[in-house]
């Protein structure tokens, strides 16, 4: 009896933990949700990559057929960009940004939860296309009119792609708005814009880029949807449409997207290198302005993806020049990072290893990027494996390395524990070797003419040997990520003993306990310079160190940071209430997209519009409920 009662009690407890996660509006928890969802997707989309590598390991393989290969290729690209790189960045926005600016949460906590749930549901909707045997197969770029016409892409595959991306786009735009407002409005007193940590700067720039670039994709996706469902002819040349318009719309979004992906990791590098070199970031204002310059220029380079379209010599020359220009601010960053490390007392902990490797691989990917900018050279390289090598160096080499650096760096702020250094070292070296073994030989086969997006090649081409090397590299890279999981499991089984400031950090997140209490800062700190905490600890030329230790020691001794009941909140702190509405509205939104996909099929067609209607109903009443729900609990609730 007693045992049963205990079991019942435990079940009750577990359910309430589930409810807590489903309704959370705490940026730290949402960050963790974002983090693990993206890591699972990283493994899944990486698995798709491995499938492709098995198929290409030897000439004339028939491991995957061309249809499956095309689906795998499309989903690998789409998911890696929209469901791994972007949300993994969003995970660190959530985990780090409010802590770094001295805020108690983001500006719109429920909108933040909505961003996460629509990301989760939208990406699940896209993944589910595999279950229905109709995965999208037009490439992540989805060039019209292959993608926009049911004549050339029958079945619901491209509908999954189009509508799934719309849901993910809404999630990204909501997230960008949230972080823009958070960073502009919620900084601690004294933190002027130029005193903001460089990572926060990069997030701010990224938010602006998302807000300006995503509408172009949204409009393009709507046009594809209209072409597919309602027989419009935006991209249909048979009735006077022009498929080139999609290329413009897509790349006006697509090139800023590259910087949306890479600027926050550049920010992580700019935080990790100074911490482990024990020097301030060299020329921090230059790094910030270089980020702004990159963001600005990124809107003037899109046609370098389209040199062979036939835009004519003048546009090609102009876009080549603007593309080369963007190399300058990127170079500024690389040199400033090198100068940061120069003469520093370097401490190669795991985050530092990943960050330093990311700098090196940015140089690799950057140099080949300038090569493609040269139009005549691009004619040789376009859509060859050389391009694949280039962007994988940037996306995997820089972005994923930097995000792994962020994982090791901020793990104490996520879980109050430090990841194991020895496993981390193995993880780093295997990842580094795997990355280079996979992506460097792609330059060779690319220059030798191996095209992208071919499901196989003949033995006469002589590409077999290098392809086998690439495949071996890819497996090393894939298996290396298992070490991260082992490391996490091992670490989480140990007690949470990390100190508030395990790396001798420079920014505000290290002034509060690891993991932070639910309210982050009991007392909002006052900021006296860019490396706010460093100045308080050690002073700089202008400021003496604070007379007393500014770690929020008073709060450290509060016993309840791992059990944040509301009764224990410090006086004057109001926290947003958990809410079901973000989850409900996201579910309604995804139901609308799913209904639209059904509408396009033959068997489920009649169900389509009712489900769209149901989704609309849920979204509408969900938003009403959201609107009328009080955001903050009443004073009385605290007391009770």
């Amino acid at each position: 009896m007693a045992e049963a009662a205990i079991r019942l009690e435990q079940a009750e407890y577990r359910r309430s933990a589930l409810v807590e996660w489903l309704t959370t509006v705490d940026h730290k928890k949402i960050g963790i949700l974002y983090y693990w969802t993206s890591i699972v997707y990283l493994l899944l989309a990486g698995f798709l990559g491995l499938l492709m590598r098995i198929q290409l390991a030897q000439p004339d393989m028939h491991f995957l057929g061309p249809k499956t290969y095309n689906e795998v290729m499309t989903m690998h690209g789409t998911m890696m960009i929209f469901a791994v790189a972007m949300p993994l960045n969003a995970a660190f926005f959530n985990i780090a940004v409010p802590l770094m600016i001295g805020a108690r949460d983001v500006a719109f906590p429920r909108l933040n939860a909505f961003s996460y749930w629509s990301f989760l549901f939208g990406s699940l909707l896209m993944w589910s296309s595999f279950l229905f045997g109709h995965a999208p197969d037009a490439g992540w770029f989805g060039y019209a009119n292959l993608s926009s016409s049911r004549l050339y892409s029958a079945g619901p595959g491209l509908d999954f792609w189009d509508l799934g991306l719309q849901v993910l786009g809404i999630s990204s735009i909501a997230g960008a708005l949230n972080f823009f407002v958070t960073i502009v409005n919620m900084r601690a007193p004294g933190m002027s814009l130029m005193r903001m940590p460089v990572y926060v700067w990069m997030v701010l720039i990224t938010a602006i880029l998302i807000l300006l670039a995503f509408p172009s994709l949204t409009v393009g996706l709507f046009m594809i949807m209209f072409d597919r469902y309602f027989n419009t002819n935006f991209f249909n040349p048979l009735h006077g449409g022009d498929p080139v318009i999609w290329q413009h719309l897509f790349w006006i979004f697509g090139h800023p997207e590259v910087y949306i992906l890479v600027l926050p990791p550049m920010g992580i590098i700019s935080e990790v290198l100074p911490t482990f070199s024990r020097k301030p970031l060299f020329g921090a204002p230059f790094v910030i302005f270089a980020g702004i310059a990159i963001a600005f220029l990124s809107f003037f380079v899109w046609a370098h993806h389209m040199f062979t379209v036939g835009l004519g010599p003048v546009p090609n020359a102009l876009f080549a020049a603007s593309t080369m220009l963007i190399g300058i601010p990127t170079g500024v960053k690389v040199f400033n990072w090198l100068a940061t490390m120069w003469g520093g007392s370097l401490d190669f902990k795991t985050p530092m290893k990943f960050a330093a490797a990311a700098v090196w691989m940015l140089m690799m990917g950057g140099v080949t990027g300038v090569m493609h900018a040269t139009v005549p050279l691009d004619y040789q390289q376009q859509d060859s494996y050389f391009i694949v090598a280039h962007f994988h160096y940037v996306i995997f080499g820089v972005i994923v390395s930097a995000l792994l650096a962020g994982t090791y760096y901020w793990f104490p702020k996520m879980y109050g524990r430090l990841l194991d250094e020895r496993l981390g070292t193995w993880h780093f070296w295997l990842t580094f070797i795997g990355t280079n073994l996979t992506f460097f030989p792609m330059h060779f086969v690319g220059l030798d003419g191996m095209p992208r997006r071919y499901f196989t090649y003949s033995a006469e081409t002589g590409w077999g040997t290098w392809n086998l090397v690439i495949t071996i590299g890819a497996f090393i890279l894939g298996l290396a990520q298992v070490l991260l999981l082992i490391n996490v499991v091992k670490t989480l089984r140990q007690p949470a003993t990390a100190s508030a400031d395990p790396w001798d950090g420079r920014t505000l997140e290290w002034t509060i306990p690891s993991p932070p209490p639910v309210y982050n800062f009991a007392v909002i700190p006052t900021v006296r310079g860019r490396d706010a905490y460093w100045i308080e600890k050690y002073g700089d030329g202008h400021h003496a160190p604070a007379a007393t230790d500014t770690t929020q020691r008073r709060e450290v001794h509060e016993p309840h940071h791992d059990n944040p009941g509301h009764g224990t909140l410090p006086p004057g702190v109001h926290l947003p209430k958990p809410s079901w509405w973000p989850l409900i509205v996201s579910a309604g939104l995804t139901a609308m997209a799913a209904g639209m996909i059904m509408y396009g099929t033959e068997t489920l067609g009649p169900l389509g519009f009712p489900i769209v209607g149901l989704g609309t109903f849920v979204v509408f009443f969900g938003l009403l409920g959201w609107h009328f729900e009080p955001a903050i609990e009443h004073e009385e609730a605290h007391v009770a």
Binding site: N70, Y152, P237, V244, V309, G310, A321, M324, D383, Y454
Partner: protein, 155 residues
């Protein structure tokens, strides 16, 4: 402001490279008249196969070592998929497609152009050495993308 000698060297080098690149493009485009692919006209994809010159795809001798190859790219083959020319000839490829976007890249040359439905694509290559020059579709076009290729035999 004092700038390290090495740093100055790299800054000047980077600036020079950019200037050289831009000047090179300008000279190439405006003085040397380097031919870049650009639409040579429009064609209705519905009536492509009855519109000259695409009603008779194939190689045409223009005299003086110049040839025009009229090629239709469709999912998933080129028509014709082989042409033969003597050494030293200059071949202008005139391409169009009745369905989706295809590509045309001729290995060993700088000829690379997208074939967009509704547009006529034109690109010129000179063959000074005998051999076989493979061309492939390099713009992803669906299920049979990898099967789209052809070749120029130069004798």
């Amino acid at each position: 402001m004092r700038v390290e000698a090495y740093e100055r060297f790299f800054m000047i080098l980077a600036a020079l490279l950019l200037v050289l690149g831009i000047v090179g493009i300008a000279i190439g485009a405006l003085v040397a008249g380097v031919h870049v692919p650009s639409p040579a006209g429009r064609v209705d994809p519905r009536t492509l196969t009855t519109t000259p010159p695409f009603d008779q795809p194939g190689l045409r001798d223009l005299g003086g070592g110049k040839y025009e190859a009229v090629v239709i790219a469709r999912a998933w083959q080129f028509q014709p998929d082989q042409i033969e020319v003597p050494v030293g000839s200059t071949v202008t490829f005139t391409l169009a497609t009745p369905d989706v976007i295809h590509g045309f890249v001729l290995t060993g040359t700088n000829a690379n152009v997208m074939v967009i439905p509704g547009q006529i694509a034109q690109v010129t290559a000179r063959f000074d050495r005998p051999g076989e020059y493979l061309w492939v579709c390099h713009e992803y076009c669906g299920f049979g993308h990898h099967q789209m290729f052809g070749k120029v035999v130069v004798r």
